[in-house]
């Protein structure tokens, strides 16, 4: 049993100068065989292992991670969490996640700092207004909280936005999801890792996968730099590198991996108390608990695994930020970075079985995977455990690219974080 985390335990441990805290997770060597191996130790992968152990009573599970857990897109995103997606399938998926988020800190006994400070999406032209109203109506009927705000209401909710009608693309209104917000990205990975470890999941870091061994249409195991690991079920959650793993298994995915950039400003005292997203002028901003403005930039249009994008993208993003928030002109960029996102043609993810028995893929989250972390883990665990998708992820199968039954979320997700 792990130490319980609480103010009491902090006080207690302070008496011994915090020298007696346990490891949050072990650092085991891989066993020869597991019932299931999750490839990728990001938030989604760790959550998958956590729910496999917790809900499906699978105990002999490993998560193998090329670098350090949470070091990919989990630790590189702008942490926006919302569920106001257009289509029923997406709304179901993301709201499932949002509901888990609402209790996640208690479920994990780890403060993931889920902060429901609201997410506002702005409209800047008449078609934006139509699209966002459409989304608001759909959300409301799907039981997802969504409000349409007039320009005045936008200003009231976030007074620092420039709502002047004289700017190049004036704010014509917006939607607000109050249950939406942000969370502390690292804590999500660490909290799931600690929880999974406690249930016996082996989290194996610095363990790059080199190959997937197949016997005909069945998987037999994975080759890693720490040796061969036998298993009948492999769940791949390796955002950015999904295609690389797929190639090892001899399958192709409808994905392209592209650089996505983000940046933070120097920390300042609280100035913006919500998350504001604008697809049309392409500016996303929130403020972290540390006080940094967290700003999401866009993706480049070319495939790259370098974790760096072009400067144009950052410049364009900050241009948009200053258009909407001229008061930030004298703020300074502290740090910029890039991640690699794999993007599906319909801007929706894949949580699916494949043509190979025992091989499952969870990928294609594009720029918006963080918000889905708990839901994605839960549903992927269900899919792996039962060899069948849950009804909430049935629509996100790979076959939709053959039948044409896409879940086109470009309006909601193309550049959405």
């Amino acid at each position: 049993m792990k130490n319980n985390y609480s103010i009491i335990s902090l006080l207690k441990n302070s008496l011994s100068y915090h020298e007696n805290w346990q490891q949050a997770w072990r650092d085991p060597e891989p066993k020869k065989e597991y019932d299931a191996v999750i490839v990728g130790g990001g938030g989604h992968g760790l959550a998958t292992a956590f729910y496999l152990a917790k809900k499906h009573k699978m105990k002999n599970i490993a998560v193998v991670e090329k670098g350090w857990i949470g070091g990919g897109n989990t630790g590189r995103n702008t942490t926006i969490i919302r569920s106001n997606y257009l289509w029923d399938a997406s709304a179901g998926l993301y709201d499932h996640a949002l509901k888990i988020w609402e209790n996640l800190s208690l479920e994990l006994n780890y403060n993931v700092m889920f902060s429901q400070r609201g997410v506002m999406n702005l409209a800047h032209n008449l078609q934006d207004v139509r699209d966002l109203k459409r989304r608001t109506h759909a959300n409301r009927l799907n039981g997802i909280d969504a409000e349409w705000l007039s320009t005045e209401e936008v200003k009231k909710f976030c007074p620092i936005i420039n709502t002047s009608p004289n700017i190049r693309y004036p704010v014509l209104g917006g939607t607000l999801q109050r249950r939406a917000g942000t969370a502390r990205h690292d804590a999500v990975a660490w909290g799931y890792a600690r929880g999974a470890d406690e249930m016996g999941v082996d989290i194996i870091q610095n363990c790059e996968v080199k190959g997937i061994k197949r016997n005909g249409d069945n998987v037999e195991g994975i080759e890693t730099i720490k040796g061969f690991i036998k298993t009948k079920k492999i769940g791949v959650v390796a955002a950015g590198h999904s295609s690389v793993i797929a190639n090892m298994a001899g399958i192709r995915l409808p994905l392209e991996s592209k650089p996505l950039q983000a940046l933070v400003s120097e920390p300042v005292k609280p100035i913006i108390d919500t998350v504001v997203m604008s697809n049309a002028v392409h500016a996303y901003v929130s403020q972290s608990d540390k006080g940094e403005l967290v700003i999401g930039a866009g993706t480049d249009a070319y495939v790259s695994y370098t974790q760096r994008g072009s400067h144009n993208i950052v410049e364009g993003t900050l241009k948009a930020i200053l258009e909407l928030y001229p008061i930030f002109s004298r703020m300074k960029m502290l740090r910029q970075w890039g991640g690699i996102v794999d993007i599906c043609p319909d801007a929706s993810p894949i949580i699916s079985k494949t043509s190979i028995k025992g091989l499952y893929f969870n990928c294609g989250w594009g720029t918006g995977g963080f918000k889905a972390t708990p839901g994605s883990g839960d549903l992927f665990a269900h899919t792996i455990a039962n060899d069948e998708p849950h009804e909430l992820n049935a629509a996100f199968n790979i076959n939709r690219f053959i039948s044409g039954d896409l879940v086109d979320e470009h309006g909601a997700a193309a550049v959405a974080h």
Binding site: S243, N247, I402
Partner: protein, 91 residues
């Protein structure tokens, strides 16, 4: 920010170009004779390779010509540039 050596205009900043994805995916001459699977393969499935990729770029703010580029997607180094219809200069 790459510099791309457009085969028609010479070296220019990346911002003049737009990326067109994987090259040498030939549009089937008789699409109606393909199965849904085969068509989906053409339409959506990509190698998305980490390493040497053969890809298409468009000199959108220049000569408006499409051409091919050989680029290592793991470090963005461009190894070669060649015109449409030409054979890749490297394998």
């Amino acid at each position: 920010m790459f510099i791309i050596n457009c085969p028609f205009c010479g070296e220019r900043d990346q911002s003049e170009f737009s990326a067109g994805g994987e090259a040498h995916i030939i549009r089937p001459k008789q699409p109606t004779e393909l199965s849904d699977d085969e068509w989906a393969d053409f339409l959506f499935m990509r190698k998305n390779i980490k390493g040497i990729q053969f890809e298409r770029w468009y000199h959108a703010h220049g000569c408006r010509k499409w051409f091919n580029v050989v680029r290592d997607t793991s470090n963005d180094k461009i190894h070669a540039v060649y015109k449409m219809g030409e054979k890749p200069p490297i394998k």
